[in-house]
Symmetry: C2
Subunit: 408 residues, 2 copies
DNA sequence: ACTGGTTTCTTCGCAGTGCGAACGAAGTTT
DNA sequence: AAACTTCGTTCGCACTGCGAAGAAACCAGT
């Protein structure tokens, strides 16, 4: 692994690697496609395509899956991607829990495990929990480690591009000195990729959710904290210091309450779960003694409770200020809202869009769709696995080479 | 030119093209470097490097420039980039003027022309002016058209990636139906590249200004309008609809004055030249009857005039709100301020930085430098030329092939 | 059923590219 | 002056993709 000004030089082998990756990606995207069709689209010669496909088939990544429909002559042999050829592990370290998923090469969850875990202040315990859950997932599906591509980790902290295992000492002081990547790499002897949770939520949306097929998208995670991640030209954009996407600390109300970060009127103090619950206690509170939950707000809003709807309205309006700024500055093709509260759908989208319309240029809005996520509660962990998938689809050598003998 | 999912396949020729471009870029960046050094850095074999350099030399882009210092053996032959091998034309269409520059391949201005021109409402006149000035520049330096790489144009409007010659009908309604790229392409029979002025200011800073060597930068142009451009991974980022960087219409004061765009409290209504001049009239106004100019504010502030300083302070504070949002969202490595008013330097940077510090996460600020531009008033036009240079350095075939006979 | 045309995929020789070893050229050091 | 180092070139080799030719498989019309 070269660092810095990687001199991306090409020799004969590199040429093959490049074309091979291109083909692999095409087969992955299309799910099934004939050699002839590949040749037409890539403008590679039929002979070359055949040679490369044979390579890929031999490595177990693709296989023939019967004949397609004729176009007036011999019927084509369809090549399909073997989604189950390898597995990937995705880990989400949340604020108070750890979720681990085992996925195939199509982002499908084959097994998953979740455990409550205080992540902020307990690095040792967290790492132990992660190790246990990962092993459980592997065991449950009887997946040998050599058929696992790698391990992706979502961390509730910015991740600096130059030290992708270390978490931010400002956000998670207790993790100072720990290197998640190294720790898990030594345990499982697998490649480990780490990134911020919102960034991975964005990646998941880009691959499996609202952003399918697109290359520019912003994901906003509405939870205890408010984070966002940008996909730019198909890649996670991390910024110079890895803190791109900290939308939660944009000041939207200079007269707002003070925030933990030392500033005033941060978005998170107004629409973070804490603020929503607090507001719910004021408006809906008399019903019960204990504090309402986000889930109750969602259910209330769905059921037509005016107080809950009012809370969602307020959320949409505040969020609109930040999203308007986002549209003007970045002009993404899609903005996806995630997090539990986003499941109210249009109840949130309507006031949000109205708020954005009042604050963003119409030209910025014209090409941007604002939607809520359709992925479930494991989307962040799946996004972590996707990070590994993305890397492997670009660099085939990341797939564990099984020097296939004759094992069918 | 393929559009859409360009299948970037590689054959033997493509391999050569890729390595050739890599070498060309290295020689361009280093200005002078030996074959041996290139081989070491690229990990290409010495024989390959020699072959490619011979190619480049034959095409006139590089040449031997004597011997370097020995490293304990034979002295290396230094290869240098021929900055004067070709010329590039850069055009800035401002609000009320047109500037044309003729540069070499190092961004140096060899000739320039400026003319007053109402651009907004007079497409015909503007195109005519551009044509005249371009021809004047070519004539002045006796540059034959075949030694010009291409023509870059900066437009005071967002430029949609899918129709790079058409200007936004919302911002410049009079230009509806005009295609700048096509118009100039037919006149001069040269490749034409069009982009937004702030984007090209950003590109200029990245190549010749504060951002040299970096790959992620945001440029903010403070003028009649407030625009910004992002360079991400070395490329202009245009967003989904070409309107990325419209920082001028971020709402920073919900109680602020109405803006032309229909919103309230837009940055531009508070710190655009118009607002600054207006404020100057209030504070400094009694001196003369006619409205003060931005230049007078700059001079006043430099001379210590408290009113002028107060204006600059206010500018810094408002701008800080937007920049803080920018840092949190994008976390660029450098923010460069351009436009006439930015020439006051620290007088603006100090209040700006203070304002940002109050509103952005310290982690976002940690890796970001905020500076003022050191490039002159032709920076936008030079940026337009740079767009052409960038394209040609990536794709050597854009350099007009002079099938060199024996002309030294 | 048969024939001609079409499409798919493979085979095989060719051309272009980068590599590595060997070599000569040019300097430095002892 | 001799030994060593570095630079750049030459030449045969291995690998890649290409193109022509051909075999296989299929469709449509008679």
């Amino acid at each position: 692994m070269k660092v810095g000004t990687a001199a991306l030089t090409v020799d004969a082998a590199g040429m093959r690697a490049q074309n091979s990756s291109l083909l692999l990606n095409m087969i992955w995207r299309e799910r099934q496609i004939s050699r002839a069709e590949i040749a037409r689209r890539t403008e590679l010669s039929p002979s070359t395509v055949s040679a490369i496909v044979a390579d890929l088939e031999h490595s177990g990544l693709v296989r023939s899956i019967g004949a397609g429909v004729s176009r007036g002559g011999r019927r084509p042999t369809l090549i399909g991607f073997r989604d189950d050829a390898f597995s990937i592990i995705g880990v989400e370290m949340g604020a108070t829990h750890v979720t681990v998923v085992l996925t195939d090469l199509r982002g499908r969850v084959r097994t998953h495990r979740t455990a409550a875990q205080q992540v902020r202040n307990d690095p040792e315990g967290t790492l132990k929990t992660v190790r246990t859950l990962v092993q459980e997932c592997l065991d449950a599906e009887r997946v040998p480690r050599r058929s696992v591509v790698g391990l992706g980790v979502a961390a509730p902290s910015p991740v600096h591009p130059s030290a992708p295992g270390k978490l931010s000492p400002l956000i998670l002081p207790a993790w100072r000195g720990y290197d998640v990547r190294e720790a898990l790499n030594t345990t499982f002897d697998l490649p480990v990729f780490v990134d911020n949770d919102a960034n991975l939520g964005a990646l998941a949306e880009c691959y499996w959710g609202a952003g399918i097929g697109g290359e520019d998208l912003t994901y906003i995670k509405l939870a205890t904290g408010i984070g966002s991640g940008h996909i730019i030209h198909g890649d996670v954009y991390r910024g110079a210091g890895g803190t791109a996407g900290e939308i939660g600390h944009i000041a939207v109300d200079s007269a707002g309450p003070p925030c933990l970060c030392g500033l005033r009127g941060c978005l998170v103090t107004l629409i973070g779960s804490g603020a929503l619950v607090e507001r719910a206690r004021e408006l809906m509170g008399t019903k019960g003694r204990k504090a309402p939950t986000v889930r109750e707000i969602v259910e209330g809003a769905r059921a037509g409770d005016p107080a809950a709807r009012q809370i969602i309205d307020g959320l949409g309006q505040y969020l609109g200020v930040a999203v308007a700024g986002l549209l003007n500055l970045l002009n993404p093709a899609i903005v996806v809202l995630g997090g539990e509260i986003s499941s109210v759908g249009d109840l949130l989208l309507d006031p949000l869009r109205a708020s954005v319309r009042k604050r963003a240029l119409s030209t910025s809005m014209a090409e941007t769709r604002i939607v809520t996520s359709a992925l479930g509660d494991k989307s962040i962990a799946v996004g972590a696995a996707t990070l590994v998938l993305q890397a492997a689809l670009r660099d085939r050598t990341l797939f564990p080479l099984q020097h296939v003998g004759k094992s069918a």
